[in-house]
């Protein structure tokens, strides 16, 4: 529990309106988009770096735990107050500070919603590619803390690849900046990329400097329909092997197709076993050519039909539906655990088969979605948390999926992060030495251990 005098200090920093402590308010900051709930003692909404600095100073002085949070769309309890204390919520610190066309960069506050930022830069004919499925909700700050990936990863990479620099506040309250606004910068350690993906364990991000690209002139969405999911998987490997780089390359299995059709009524083929949803982008000539090549590949590999979208509106509808997959699938059962183990792309087909086999053997309902182009699987495990027997089978399935991914040189998590849901697997992928180095880095930033305690680096038992 927070002491009254400490709370008063927080109130004096942000004012009573932006310090929430009622039971109702706390209950609404106990969750993210995953399964667990942890109640914070207070929620603070800073609006400036100075306020964040003052909050961290107070927290340091009184040993108060602080967990930074964006929109709370995370999938592993990363931004929840796992050991109580204060949630530092950035949704009200949400201005786009600069969009610089001459040098193609932008500066934003952490609470800016990704999709809104993308829309804004596109007005200037610029492009910010990182595009997690939750972009309509998730914040830029959250994306930095989690190194969010998303659907355009196959061509454009992930959040990390667009960071030029950061302004951060250390747990002590000191404000510092990392990086520069130039695209090249080899001065000192790359702290920007250390903070990125650190899941809020090292410092609090208060400003983000991102690199922008020129907006691709045009885009075409293709939809390839398969009777066999294997053939869809093989198509993906072939496309990548052939050196074609689509902007997005998504795979959905029949369970996902049905759920999306139930929600969005787009006329998706309900009898298909898989669909590949692909974007090609660039200048009109290249796009025409690439669309034709990709369509050819799909047919060669046994796609029964390849549809090329006719309009921007159709593109948007298809992608909006894809973005809803997580929620739409959740209609089928009360809970939906989303996995994101990632394999080298040449293993995609066998990985999908493996997942389906694991599901069948453990008698668990798994729908398969994948950012296929970069081998990033999203098995959606549908279950009811109230059934403990079922949950044991779910847990076993997740263990097996992780083991498989690691056995072929993949990773525990492609983009969702470790949080508390995957921390138990960490020693399977990271050596003792590697973990020790990480813990030491954390100590250097946060000697008191007040920032996001209970995070992925800490053993859950201790």
């Amino acid at each position: 529990m927070l002491k009254e005098n400490v709370l008063q200090q927080f109130v004096s920093i942000v004012g009573p309106e932006r310090c929430k402590t009622t039971k109702e308010d706390l209950l609404t900051y106990a969750y993210d988009a995953y399964a667990y709930e942890f109640l914070p003692d207070a929620v603070l909404f800073p609006k400036s770096s100075e306020e964040v600095s003052a909050i961290m100073q107070t927290a340091s002085a009184h040993n108060v735990f602080v967990t930074p949070r964006g929109a709370g769309s995370g999938l592993g309890s990363e931004a929840l107050a796992k050991q109580g204390g204060v949630v530092l919520c950035f949704t009200m610190m949400n201005r786009i500070l600069e969009i610089n066309r001459a040098n193609r960069y932008a500066v934003v506050e952490p609470g800016v919603v990704i999709a809104e930022f993308q829309k804004e830069v596109e007005q200037h004919n610029l492009f910010y590619p990182p595009d997690p499925g939750s972009a309509a909700v998730a914040t830029m700050g959250g994306a930095v803390a989690m190194n969010a990936g998303g659907m355009r990863g196959v061509k454009y990479g992930v959040t990390r690849d667009y960071l030029l620099g950061l302004e951060i506040v250390l747990p002590s309250g000191e404000i510092m900046t990392t990086g520069t606004i130039t695209t090249k910068d080899v001065t000192g350690y790359d702290l920007t990329r250390l903070i990125c993906g650190s899941e809020g364990t090292l410092a609090v991000v208060t400003k983000i400097f991102v690199r922008l690209l020129p907006k691709p002139q045009t885009k075409r969405t293709l939809q390839a329909v398969y009777d066999k999911i294997d053939a869809a998987g093989t198509t993906v490997s072939k496309i990548i092997e052939a050196g074609i780089v689509p902007a997005t390359l998504e795979l959905m299995d029949k369970t996902i197709i049905k759920a999306l059709e139930d929600f969005a009524h787009l006329g998706l083929p309900l009898d298909a076993e898989a669909i590949l949803l692909m974007d090609v982008d660039g200048d009109p000539d290249t796009v025409e050519k690439q669309a034709a090549t990709v369509a050819g590949f799909c047919r060669e590999q046994g796609a029964r039909e390849v549809r090329v979208s006719e309009s921007e509106k159709e593109n948007e509808q298809l992608w909006a539906a894809r973005r809803s997959a997580f929620g739409a699938v959740a209609r089928m059962r009360p809970n939906c655990m989303i996995e994101d183990a990632t394999v080298p792309v040449s293993y995609l087909t066998s990985a999908i088969k493996k997942v389906l086999e694991i599901a069948e053997r453990n008698n668990v309902l798994i729908a398969v979605l994948a950012h296929a182009g970069d081998g990033n699987l999203h098995p959606l495990i549908l279950c009811d948390q109230r059934d403990s027997d079922e949950m044991a089978r779910v847990e076993k399935s997740m263990d097996e999926i992780v083991d498989y991914a690691l056995s072929v040189g993949g990773t525990l998590s492609g983009e969702h992060g470790i949080g508390i849901t995957k921390s138990k697997y960490l020693p399977k992928q990271l050596s003792e030495t590697s973990l020790r180095m990480m813990r030491n880095i954390r100590k250097l930033f946060d000697p008191q251990g007040i920032l996001n305690p209970g995070s992925f680096l800490e053993d859950r038992q201790s």
């Binding site: 909404f45 949704t91 309509a136 997580f326």
Partner: protein, 418 residues
Amino acid sequence: MISEQLREEVHKCIKCGLCMNACPVYKQLYFEGASPRGKVQLIKKVLEGKLEPSEHFHRLLFTCLLCENCSVNCPSGLKVDRLMKAMRAELERKFGLPWQKRMVFHLLRSSRLLPFAMFWGRTFGPALLSMFAKGGKVGAIPCARIPRLNSVPLAKQYPETISPDKPKAGRVIYFTGCATNYLFDNVGQSVIAVLGRLGIEVIIPRRQMCCGLPIFLSGARKLALDNIHHNLRILAAENVDAIIVDCATCGAALKKEYVHILEEMGENPEPGKAVAHKVLDISQYLAQFDLREFLGPIQGRVTYHDPCHLVRSQAVKEEPRRLLSLIPELEFVEMVGADACCGGGGTFQLDHPDLASGITNKKIRAIAATGANLVASGCPGCRLQIHGNLESELIQVVHPVELLAMSMREHDSPAHNK
């Protein structure tokens, strides 16, 4: 009690957050308690007995426009708005209604008091309004921009049955609603004129009452039950092709809400369903006809605002646009975010004037950006809110049917027929 079926709804929410981006209230306040998923979480806790329904919870439930954007955008198919409405009804038992609402609802429930109040309201309206006003505004609307009441209620301007002077092409009941009857009689006159021109016989049942939506959305379902039963009886009495409404809100009540309420209160929903089948928004009804031969030119540019109760509650989106596009020489321009809520939300703008203004300002900017001199919208609530917050005298808010009537007058005028 909240029905079993609605109780299960809370388990559908996986907190993905897509509703937050769709929620105009969250987009002003930026804290979870204001967002749909936050409210669903709290309702869940209350239903599980883990949270006492507090004053604060009550306030949060009413920090909602019931615009239904969350329900429409929920990939899990959670009917957030229905859950909210049912919960409001639960809370009304505990917290009652504020005195202003009690007073107004008392009027809306009475077939005698309401006309009486409206009669005197015409004279003493401004004085009465100033009793409620704060800083020259009632809610989010400046007093000076609140329209005056009709000098004579619409229903008194016509006989109960208005027969066309040409062969009868149809027969409809016209449910005028309070707003048209007492505030915007030009809308009603337009409906009657347009239907008459098409040869439709129009019946305006004398004894129709307020649809009751403001009452039951505030949670006072029991209080509204008389209005519901009464209206259903009257609307079922005549054998007609359709029951026409010009008000998005009345339409939502008659088409959907009545049935939900009757079901959830354990009453027989069948009379509600029988009426609901026949109810059509005036734009839906008119879209069945080929109006072109009746329409003359109107100069200007029009944009269209989708009322929540029309576009989401009733899924009517294309018809009003199609009708407006038929009018010769009138240029139709789509505004950005046409289906975004205007921020009125019935009594919402009275309870949360600043919040409402913030939402309305976005709408006003979108309207201004079109360069239109006319904003068409089939909802008196939206009309009050948008007109009330427009700073330009050059932009006029109208009902689409008013433009159609005007266009027909143009067509029939001697100048046109020269």
